[in-house]
């Protein structure tokens, strides 16, 4: 069994002189928007007319077990949707680069000047599947936006530096990290460990896995988490420069899983001065459960009860 290593590799290169005809792909009658944030999730598929778009579907070696998507990209946004399917559909299109951009002013959307045809530039991504782990890599640092459809039960390990991450309808171990982008999770299940440095983090956990620790943190954005009304958890909430809001009935307690520092430890060291800089709020909901940490430095923390 150990020697049976099954590797499926796909290498896609966007460098084709003629734009790839994706018109054959079915396309929903939807607007040609890229993943628009932080409003409603965009359509899963790009319009048929989209140039510079690549699609590839990847089968899992063990479809009966949840797969894992691993991505660590520099530029570009990632959108993952849980669908009723067994394979993984990856759609990538050259993005317009980092930074805020008007939705309709993407390089790929502009009609070419009269008499000229557009040449796709080099760059691309590769996909590898090994024992249910699907790794997606982007070659040279180039902005590519991904829209990925996965089976509902899928684990995600997604990282991007310049771009947003949107996940909708996926259940599993979700590890999400962005540096300069928004993180938005809707209708997810399982466990979430998410962080963004300079963006807003919004998460609606519809089906939290029992006994799983979670964390939602940001440096410069608000953290807004919606949980089922019946969720059992020990919350640790903190905003250094903002406020913490909740409509849960929070049983306040100090040090849910970390009791107070032992004062003897401090005194033994000849240093009895105690400064309380920990303004975190510890509380349990519905009798308590696994630890959920919600924390931001600049921004507010919201913990909402799902209506």
């Amino acid at each position: 069994m150990t020697n049976m290593k099954k590797i499926l590799g796909y290498v896609l290169v966007l460098a084709s002189l003629v734009a790839v005809p994706v018109a054959a792909q079915p396309s929903p009658p939807a607007s040609p928007e890229p993943p628009a944030l932080p409003q409603a999730p965009p359509p899963a598929q790009a319009p048929a007319s989209e140039a510079n778009t690549q699609r590839v579907s990847v089968a899992l070696s063990e479809p009966s077990r949840p797969g894992t998507i691993e991505m660590d990209i520099v530029m570009g946004s990632i959108m993952v949707r849980g669908m009723n399917r067994r394979d993984i559909m990856i759609e990538a299109r050259a993005g317009a680069g980092p930074g805020p951009r008007p939705p309709r002013r993407r390089a790929g959307d502009e009609p070419p000047p009269a008499g000229l045809r557009r040449l796709s530039q080099s760059g691309g991504f590769s996909v590898e599947e090994e024992r249910n782990i699907v790794s997606i890599d982007v070659g040279p640092p180039r902005s590519i936006d991904f829209v990925i459809e996965v089976p509902v039960g899928t684990n995600l390990d997604l990282e991007t530096v310049m771009g947003s991450i949107v996940v909708d309808g996926v259940e599993g171990e979700l590890e999400i990290e962005s540096v300069n982008g928004t993180v938005m999770l809707t209708n997810v299940g399982g466990s979430v460990v998410a962080h963004t440095v300079n963006g807003k983090l919004t998460a609606t956990i519809a089906r939290p896995a029992p006994q799983k620790a979670m964390a939602f943190t940001s440096m410069n954005g608000s953290v807004d988490v919606t949980l089922p009304a019946a969720v059992k958890a020990n919350l640790k909430l903190r905003s250094d420069q903002g406020d913490v809001y909740t409509d849960f009935d929070l049983q306040l307690r100090r040090g849910s899983s970390n009791p107070n520092p032992n004062p003897d430890d401090v005194r033994r060291n000849g240093r009895a001065r105690v400064i309380d800089v920990d303004n975190a709020i510890y509380g349990s909901v519905n009798g308590g459960g696994p630890d959920f940490e919600m924390r931001t430095f600049n921004g507010n923390v919201y913990v909402r009860k799902a209506k």
């Binding site: 899983s257 970390n258 401090v266 001065r273 924390r295």
Partner: protein, 245 residues
Amino acid sequence: MEHEKLSRLLPDGVDPAESEALDATWRMLGAIDAPAPDAERMRARLDAVIDAVEHAHAPARPRAFRSYVLQGLAAAALVLIGIGIGWFAGSGRTAPSQALAGSSPELAAMRSEMHDLREMVSLSLMQQQSASERIKGVSWSGQLDRPSGELVSALLDALMHDPNVNVRLATIDALERFASRDDVRRGTIQAVERQPSPLVQIALIDFMVKTNERESAPTLRRLAMDPQANDAVRARAAWGLQQLG
């Protein structure tokens, strides 16, 4: 299943907190993936045991076979320890645990085994692939009253090297209880400058202030002057210096 049998054995009037803690341990044991993630560490311990046995009883049987036998024995021992603890937990005690620990040497031994078991669970969780499980391992370590050096090193290691920001952040809370240990003081001071995450850096600066760690002053001074550092981190470092005065 073992756990349910044990629950049935528990008589009325058992200290609910302890029973709950026991429950949690069982759940945690059940949740850990069968192939122990810290297999190497376990193997190292096992090898040490094997070596000891080898010295005592040469000539030895083939190594691989012995190691399987020992692994089996270790697993069986663990199950027995668990059952034993359950038995003792259910043997009708209602008084606070400390008074009881003194009342029976067997019980004290069992409690010590229980502690070791929990520590093993915590260490094992910290080695998991899943960040959620690692966070759980870190916060579990907070329930141990006398953690070993190994556990504290695992926490420091996670603070320095865990790829997930949220895991690193969680270790700072857990390490606070051991702030007077030299390795923790050194490790956390080192980590302040090496952290790539500003959120973790700020949490570490707060840690220095909270534990009144004056030896961190040179580090905080450098950080406060570092043009490369995040503005909020520099401001926090300056504030920290002032607090440590």
